[in-house]
C-alpha cells in the first residue's frame, strides 16, 4: 500500500485509516456527520494524497489524449479539465483532473485501479517516451473544502486567490515552498487542492490548521466526502462509478470529447451510444425521511423492480438518507413515487437537491 506522507500527523488527530486502490486513505476522524457539517457550514481539511498524480511535459500531450476521454488539447493555460480514463471496454477506470500548468500537464487521478496498473497502461501508451514523471512519492495533496474555504485560502495566499475561476491552477508560496493550488472540489462548496512537497506536508497541514482555526476548520475523511459528493451530485468513482462503470448511464457524457482524438475505450463507448441508453441513474430518497435506504434496495412499480439503489448516504443537509438508483430508461425521471421493499415508498428527486451556502457568496465582494 502507498502510504500518505501525512500518516503520523493524522494518526495523532485520530485518523482511522483504510485503503483505496492501493493507496492509504483516511476514512474518518470521529463522527463523519460532524465532518460533513464542517464542510457545509465551515471548513474541512482533507488529506487527498491517495490521489495518483503525475506530470507530462507539453510535448507529451499525445499520451494524455490517448489516455483521457476529454478534450485534453483544448485545455487553456492555467485551466483544469475534469474528465475520466476508461479501460478497453469503455468502462470508467479513473476520475481525472488534468491541469495545464505552464510547460507541463499535471494529472490528479482518483482511480479504481492502483498506481501500478495505471502506470502499466500508460507505459503501454508510451509514457516513458512522453516524459511522464510520477509525483506520488515526492508530493502530498491537501484539500481545503467548505463554505468558508475561501477565507482560509485568502489568509494563506492573499486576496488574489479569490479571483481564481473554478477549475483553474495557480502557483503560490506556502512556508517558503512553491506549491500548486487547484481550485476544484467535489462537495459543491468552495474547494482548493494543494499539491505540496511530501517533506513539508505536515508543516503545510499545520499552517492550514492555524489559518483555518478562526473559521472552524476540522479534518475530514473519505466517509464524509462520500456523503458530500452524493448530495452535492458530484461523481464518485468509488460509489456509483464502481457500481455502474459505464459512463453513459452515469451521465458522464459531458466529460467526453465525442468528436476528438481516439482514446482508450472510445470505440466501445461510441458503440453503446449508438445502441441507445437502456439504463440511467436517478437521485432517490425514502418518502418517509426516517426510513432507511441502502445499496441493493429495489425500487418497485406495482410489484415489479424498475431500479436498484446503487449507493446511499446520510445527507446532513436534507436530514435523511439519499441515494442514486439505476433505473430502466423508461422510468428514469425525477418527481415520481415508487414502492420500496416492506411497503414503504421511494421518491425520485432532481439533483442537486439543495442550494449550497457557497453559491450564495459573491467572492468579488469579500
Amino acid at each position: 500500500m502507498r502510504p500518505t506522507p501525512l500518516h503520523d500527523l493524522l494518526a495523532s488527530r485520530g485518523a482511522v485509516f483504510g485503503e483505496r486502490a492501493g493507496a492509504e486513505v483516511v476514512l474518518q476522524y470521529g463522527d463523519p456527520a460532524q465532518e460533513y457539517r464542517a464542510v457545509r457550514e465551515a471548513v474541512g481539511l482533507t488529506d487527498m494524497s491517495f490521489l495518483a498524480r503525475f506530470s507530462v511535459p507539453e510535448e507529451g500531450l499525445d499520451l494524455l489524449e490517448r489516455y483521457a476521454a476529454g478534450a485534453v488539447s483544448s485545455i487553456r493555460f492555467g485551466r483544469v479539465l475534469h474528465t475520466f480514463a476508461a479501460d478497453e471496454g469503455g468502462l470508467v477506470e479513473s476520475d481525472l483532473y488534468i491541469a495545464n500548468d505552464d510547460t507541463r500537464l499535471l494529472v490528479l487521478g482518483e482511480s479504481l485501479v492502483d498506481d501500478r496498473i495505471a502506470a502499466a497502461v500508460l507505459d503501454g501508451q508510451g509514457a516513458s517516451a512522453a516524459g511522464l514523471v510520477d509525483l506520488a512519492a515526492d508530493t502530498a495533496v491537501i484539500g481545503i473544502d467548505g463554505y468558508q474555504a475561501f477565507a482560509v485560502a485568502r489568509e494563506l495566499f492573499g486576496a488574489d486567490v479569490l479571483g481564481l475561476p473554478y477549475l483553474s491552477i495557480e502557483t503560490y508560496s506556502l512556508l517558503g515552498e512553491e506549491i500548486r493550488l487547484i481550485r476544484a472540489g467535489k462537495t459543491s462548496e468552495f474547494g482548493y487542492a494543494l499539491l505540496v512537497p511530501a517533506g513539508r506536508a505536515a508543516d503545510c497541514w499545520l499552517e492550514i490548521e492555524r489559518a483555518g482555526a478562526a473559521h472552524g476548520i476540522r479534518p475530514v475523511g473519505a466517509a464524509a466526502h462520500s456523503a458530500l459528493r452524493l448530495d452535492g451530485r458530484f461523481f464518485n468513482i468509488h460509489a456509483e462509478g464502481a457500481a455502474v462503470r459505464d459512463p453513459l448511464p452515469l451521465g458522464l457524457q459531458w466529460m467526453i470529447d465525442f468528436e476528438g482524438e481516439d482514446f482508450r475505450g472510445r470505440e466501445a463507448i461510441l458503440a453503446r451510444r449508438e445502441a441507445g441508453l437502456r439504463q440511467k441513474i436517478v437521485g432517490v430518497v425514502p418518502a418517509d425521511p426516517a426510513a432507511g435506504l441502502e445499496p441493493g434496495d429495489p425500487v418497485l412499480l406495482e410489484g415489479e423492480t424498475v431500479a436498484e439503489v446503487i449507493c446511499a448516504a446520510d445527507s446532513g443537509t436534507l436530514g435523511q438518507r439519499i441515494g442514486l438508483a439505476l433505473f430502466d430508461i423508461a422510468w428514469a425521471y425525477s418527481g415520481l413515487t415508487f414502492g420500496a421493499r416492506g411497503g414503504g415508498a421511494i421518491r425520485t428527486i432532481s439533483m442537486p437537491p439543495f442550494m449550497p451556502r457557497s453559491l450564495t457568496v459573491r467572492l468579488d465582494e469579500q
Binding site: 473554478y166 457524457q253 441507445g276 437521485g283 425521471y333 425525477s334 439533483m351 442537486p352 442550494m355
Partner: protein, 100 residues
C-alpha cells in the same frame, strides 16, 4: 405511492419539457452533444457543462420563450441542472392551473 398510469402521465409531461429544454440548450449554446447525451442532473454552472453568466442568460431566455414562464436572473437555484429547470416549469404550470 403512485399507480403505473399516474407515473406514465407524469413522465409524458416531464419528458416533453426535458426534450424542449435540452434541444434549446444545444441549439442556443452550440453544445457538441445530442439531447440523449445530456443527463438531466448534469450541473449547468461550474462543474458539468460549465456555463458562464452569459450562457445562463441565454438559458433563461430559452426557457421563458419556450414555456412562457419567468425566471429571475439571480435565481441560480433554478439553473443548477436541466431537472431543476424542468421542476420550475412544471411548478409554474401547476400554479397557473390552480389559479385558473
Amino acid at each position: 405511492m403512485e399507480t403505473k398510469n399516474e407515473i406514465v402521465a407524469k413522465i409524458e409531461e416531464r419528458a416533453e419539457v426535458l426534450r424542449v429544454i435540452k434541444e434549446d440548450l444545444i441549439s442556443r449554446l452550440n453544445l457538441p452533444y445530442r439531447p440523449e447525451d445530456l443527463h438531466e442532473d448534469v450541473s449547468l454552472l461550474g462543474s458539468g457543462l460549465g456555463l458562464d453568466s452569459l450562457d445562463a442568460l441565454e438559458v433563461i431566455l430559452g426557457v421563458e420563450h419556450a414555456f412562457g414562464v419567468k425566471v429571475a436572473e439571480d435565481n441560480i437555484a433554478i439553473l443548477r441542472s436541466i431537472n431543476t429547470i424542468a421542476d420550475h416549469v412544471l411548478a409554474e404550470r401547476r400554479g397557473r392551473e390552480v389559479a385558473s
